[in-house]
């Protein structure tokens, strides 16, 4: 028969050997569970084939001043626009303090190529494709792009000017590989 002292041995400081075993076992199981959850969460991220679409080449030689084209990168629309001098002047005339997401045209284009405005064609509100890249489409009150779904209007530098969208149309990472070819991504 176990004596009183044996049963309560080591309890004076409130810690039993059993407590250590409990914590160690639960922690070990917890680490195991986390290790299983990780791949289950990670499988939801874009797969390799989706990421592989991350670079696109565009030939811009046939885009006339004032014209815009729609192409796609990462399955998302890209607007490439050849701005005319008037549109560039309009974009530059806007004081930064008027803008919700202050950015100059220079910050949104490459040096010496400020007539080439290349942006994602994804409204920063809820992801619709704004109008304005196609021939005769409504460009909205600021002459850039217009999203009729929820009423967001962008100016000639594709900056948000009116409506619920919080940010300017995003400029994707791109480079001019030659005077007529742009590589996006």
């Amino acid at each position: 028969m176990a004596s009183e002292t044996e049963i309560t041995a080591g309890i004076e400081d409130g810690v039993r050997r059993r407590d250590f075993i409990n914590i160690a076992a639960v922690s070990f199981a917890g680490v195991g569970a986390a290790a299983v959850v990780l791949p289950l969460v990670n499988q939801m991220n874009p797969s390799a084939d989706v990421l592989a679409l991350s670079s696109t080449e565009i030939d811009i030689s046939s885009i006339q001043p004032g014209q815009a084209i729609k192409t796609s990168w990462r399955k998302q629309p890209i607007f490439v626009r050849n701005l005319v001098a008037k549109e560039i002047a309009e974009a530059k005339a806007v004081p930064l303090s008027d803008l919700r997401d202050p950015q100059t045209l220079d910050e949104r284009t490459k040096p010496g190529k400020e007539n080439w405005l290349i942006t994602l064609g994804v409204c920063t509100h809820l992801g619709c494709v704004p109008l304005g890249a196609g021939e005769g489409e409504n460009r909205g009150p600021f002459g850039g792009y217009f999203c009729p779904c929820h009423g967001s209007a962008y100016d000639t530098a594709a900056r948000i000017r009116q409506g619920p969208a919080p940010r300017n149309l995003e400029v994707p990472p791109y480079e001019f590989t030659s005077d007529t070819v742009v590589t996006i991504g």
Binding site: P46, K75, G151, A165
Partner: protein
Amino acid sequence: MSFPWAKNYEPQVPLMKWLDEKLPLPRLVYNAIGAGYPVPRNLNYFWNFGVLAGVALVIQIITGIVLAMHYAANADIAFNSVEHIMRDVNAGWFIRYAHMNGASMFFIVVYLHIFRGLYYGSYKAPREMVWLLGVVIFLLMMATGFMGYVLPWGQMSFWGAQVITGFFSAIPVVGDPIRIWLLGGFAPDDATLNRFFSLHYLLPFVIAGVIILHIWALHIPGSSNPTGIEVKDEQDTVPFHPYYTAKDGFGVGVFLLVFVALTFFSPNMLGHADNYIPANSLSTPAHIVPEWYFLPFYAILKAFTFNFLWIDAKLWGVIAMFSSIAVLFFLPWLDSSPVKSSSYRPLNRIFFWILVLDVLLLGWCGMSPAEQPWVILSQLGAIYYFAHFLIILPIISRIERPLPMPNSITEAVLAKHADAPSAATA
């Protein structure tokens, strides 16, 4: 569970006795919808809608399982596989239309079920848990309905997926990575379609599970009733079977009449023509609208057109839309009136109907373009919606003087029929 006078299950034949000892499933059914569950004797037809929602879910699960046998969750062929179901599969058109319109029927009966709960104070103690589980079911239904709508991969499907997942990009800092994680890409594509299909198949069974909890939580205090007075003695109740199985059976008949009328005569009435255009990721439909049952919430989302305080309009819209449902979780504590039924709450009755009109107005705004006067109307409608729950309801539950209440359910029933000529004397 339930009341002391509930009948006990007594198996008659040897087989049932044997089964009762091994797996008392018949006993469970008897106690759930048989004479083992006494129910207030005065339930009106608004108490049919819980059963009708269950019927609607069963129809959705059966038609859905069949459709999944023919549907292909691949962005290249999903649209065509739906057309294949419509044209080539035997009776495929019928099963798909039944599934499509079954979703609408499900939401119609659930909305009526919710408004029944609001009018008769079914959310009040001792049934708060029933209400909370009900709101969980509603959220699961919304998720399931949305993901199901994406599967045909038409224009509305695709852009619905784009816009709804866009909500998550409103979350500060981590929003965009979360959205990409949810979509499995940078825009809705194969990965999105496949996971939506998988979840669309799974969630109805989760809903069925929560419904079991919903009914379990209901059967502890027992069903509410139109007077809002709790059951006092045996006189106030009747056994569920045959009384309410018969009444519900009639309701199911009417429900099916409406359902087949919609399915056979106007199957596309509640859909959108744009969803018969294959998904195109480079062109948004001029006017994106969700299914009719999301329109009031969509209007609340669209009501925020300007930045306010330090939060931008997009995040406000998303917060407001989610809050418009989350506020329902707090309803049992926002309404502190001791009286449940609005039949005895003259002030609450008026504001209940104003809320119904407000939700209908928001629905109208939700399907209208983002132009005036719809923008201002949805803003006023959204303000009123929140004011109803957060300001009006707490105030009226304090200042209102309820009408005199009957002493018992039986007294209320007898008083109602006192001046009617009785069949015995005629």
